[in-house]
Symmetry: C2
Subunit: 418 residues, 2 copies
């Protein structure tokens, strides 16, 4: 992409609503544009990042047996009444349409997926299966805050699993923990700061689990067992004050950002919807369900919270909007021609390049590169070309180095391999 051709631009001014590093940097970097408190447009660079996050999650969900579907945002009042959540779910956006029909905007999709799964499940032979979607959710938050962390409209991956027995649900649920930890690692979170956290369970299981990324700006408080790399959510610390795995009572208080959660639903939803199947023994039994959520837009905000410095964002390689930030400095024709060729050569090798071909001051171009946070910056100037070189700087490393133009492409490919 030529930066001169992207309509969105970086900005030096900070929105007064930017109450968090992710809101501030993503707006200033030209990734998102605020429309309403907690409601954002994803601009070209932001959408690229979001799609990369989605794709990592999609791949892992498919490998975990999930079948992708797409449920609607408009959901019928009757479904929420069936589960007693029309009045019980406090952040439900409600609306009325033609013919006095009442709808809720999907804040979660148990009310849609349960009757849907019921329609295609007849006997134990149809179980287990799992479906997932990557789709917008709506929550009527009293106070939207923290940029992409707590929005009124946000992207969610929600997977729902359906089982013939509790033991089958339990086994799948256990496996999902490893899948989730792998997802967070692939998304760029250091495994050292990603902690599986015990949370309240509900009627059908003692615990649910959250995945917390430790961060001083996190709004959640967790109590961590460093031996087991597990934590307990504040909500249940009175009931469970020791590590559920090793019994350790010496837990450390930490702040975290919740980046995912998994929950055994048991028959909480299958019962009210009458979702039963014929089991091997000929008996009709309610299906066992689990749900598994990760919010790609929240992940995007969380990554910025954890990976930024005073100059801007430091995107992990796996989800950066592009791989190389190529900048030409000065108006020299040879610089321009060299950059144009390099841009084409890199693209031909499948490397994703943001080419800052604008006619701007050196300082402004380098500041924009730092703000946008693409992992590798390659700068070409008259000075570097005097020694047939370019300046090479990884965003996560403080020092730049001068390296020969010859062999650059191989070095870039190496930088992004594996």
């Amino acid at each position: 992409m030529r930066y001169s051709q992207i309509f969105s631009k970086t900005s030096k001014t900070v929105s007064h609503d930017a109450d968090s590093a992710n809101a501030k940097l993503l707006i200033q970097g030209g990734f998102i544009h605020q429309e309403i408190a907690g409601v954002y447009t994803f601009l070209p660079l932001g959408l690229r990042t979001l799609r990369k996050i989605e794709q990592v999650i999609r791949e892992e969900m498919e490998a975990f047996g999930g079948q992708e579907i797409l449920m609607p945002a408009l959901t019928p009042k009757s479904a929420w009444q069936t589960t007693d959540r029309w009045d019980g779910f406090d952040v439900l956006f409600k609306l009325e349409g033609a013919g006095s029909k009442e709808y809720a905007l999907g804040a979660t999709h148990e009310e849609i997926v349960t009757p849907l799964a019921k329609d295609y499940t007849f006997s134990y032979k149809d179980l287990p299966f799992a479906v997932f979607q990557i789709q917008n959710k709506f929550r009527n938050e009293p106070r939207a805050k923290s940029g992409l962390l707590r929005g009124r409209e946000f992207l969610m991956k929600d997977l729902y699993s359906f089982h013939a027995s509790e033991s089958d649900l339990d086994a799948y649920y256990e496996k999902s923990k490893d899948v989730y930890l792998r997802i967070f690692e692939r998304l760029g979170f250091d495994p050292k700061i990603t902690v599986t956290t015990y949370a309240s369970g509900g009627a059908f299981s003692q615990f649910s689990h959250e995945f917390q990324v430790l961060s001083e700006v996190g709004e959640d408080t967790v109590y961590m067992c460093e031996k087991c790399h597990l934590a307990i959510n504040k909500e249940i610390i009175d009931a469970q004050s020791t590590c559920p795995s090793c019994g350790n009572a010496d837990l450390l208080e930490k702040k975290g950002i919740e980046v995912g959660n998994i929950f055994k639903l048991g028959t909480r939803f299958s019962e009210p919807f009458g979702f039963k199947f014929t089991d091997e023994d000929g008996q009709m039994k309610p299906a066992q369900m689990g749900c598994y959520g990760i919010g790609p837009s929240r992940i995007m905000g969380s990554l910025v919270e954890v990976y930024h410095d005073d100059q801007g964002i430091v995107w992990p390689k796996s989800v950066a909007p592009l791989q190389v930030h190529l900048a030409s400095l000065g108006k020299d024709e040879i610089v321009q021609a060299t950059c144009d060729k390099l841009y084409q050569d890199l693209k031909d090798q499948g490397i994703e390049v943001l080419y800052d071909d604008r006619d701007r001051q050196v300082g402004a171009k380098l500041a924009d590169a730092d703000l946008i946070g693409i992992p590798l910056r390659v700068v070409v100037s008259k000075r570097t070309l005097e020694s047939d070189s370019v300046e090479w700087k990884e965003r996560s490393v403080s020092d730049a180095e001068t390296i020969p133009l010859a062999g650059l492409i191989e070095k870039v490919k190496e930088c992004f391999s594996g």
Copy 2:
């Protein structure tokens, strides 16, 4: 994909709501599931089809200079008041959130994209540009009908272009017609039945244009000039009763399904939002705008309306959910083993295969293949294997042929090349 592992299934019964071929066949084929009148879930096969349609459109929009963004569904009342459409747009879903904030669900996005574009446009040097999104729209239709053709929630590709002058808008608008015709051809519509149609223009241009696919079940009436392959919408036939291109008055009345539309907005939205830029002459001028829509979900429904027979859907190759429908007939072990290997070999060659590995009657499996409508059916049975052959049948052709197993993969690749 192994058909035995897809949770959604074909169905012999027709929903009482299925008032159209597309609703009936897409529901029976396991592509979509109705949640509310005009609101559907896309099941695995349906979502694959929808994504292919989206991708064709995305590629053409990017080639046409469009930059992809993603705007929200929640839009602020104030924006609709600015353009006098809060009360004037009769299918707007309205809702209230925390703090008595009022929102509309995006039925179209001029009210969001205009102030967005304004924030990044300062001078004529920033123009022209175009942005597009592929995103859900919501319309409070009094009567949802015709399956995916007129829904209350549906997928839309909307591109908006911004220009410094009317002449630049005019030139871009003219080019968009060719882009649109190419899109419909790539999506599988026969160019012979896709007709650019003059429609009412509004304050800023004499005409807008629709793209109509001629079909006896279409709800629109158009008057066609066969010489110019152009039509006039019924709404303006009194004002424009001859072909706008050649003056021909001998127009044929036809029925059509609208599959896209383009519209010059002029300054209809830039004026109320105060979207002005500094022109070359130093003057502040309002930006000129155009909008260009295609609904991927409506396209999916339209394709089914046009391309089906008594047995089921006949998907065009370009957007079929998968390319090959491989079916094993009978429980013979050699049949099973041959199919398993063929499935793997085809997948290894990048061919997309729906492998019907279920233990079902021959008739049921063949009926499902016809209903689902994948372009090429390959059947393996004990009988075909006696002559080291398979049965080959293209969905759009009535006769099956027996062809040697050797060389099959090459023949499949040929079938889908070009």
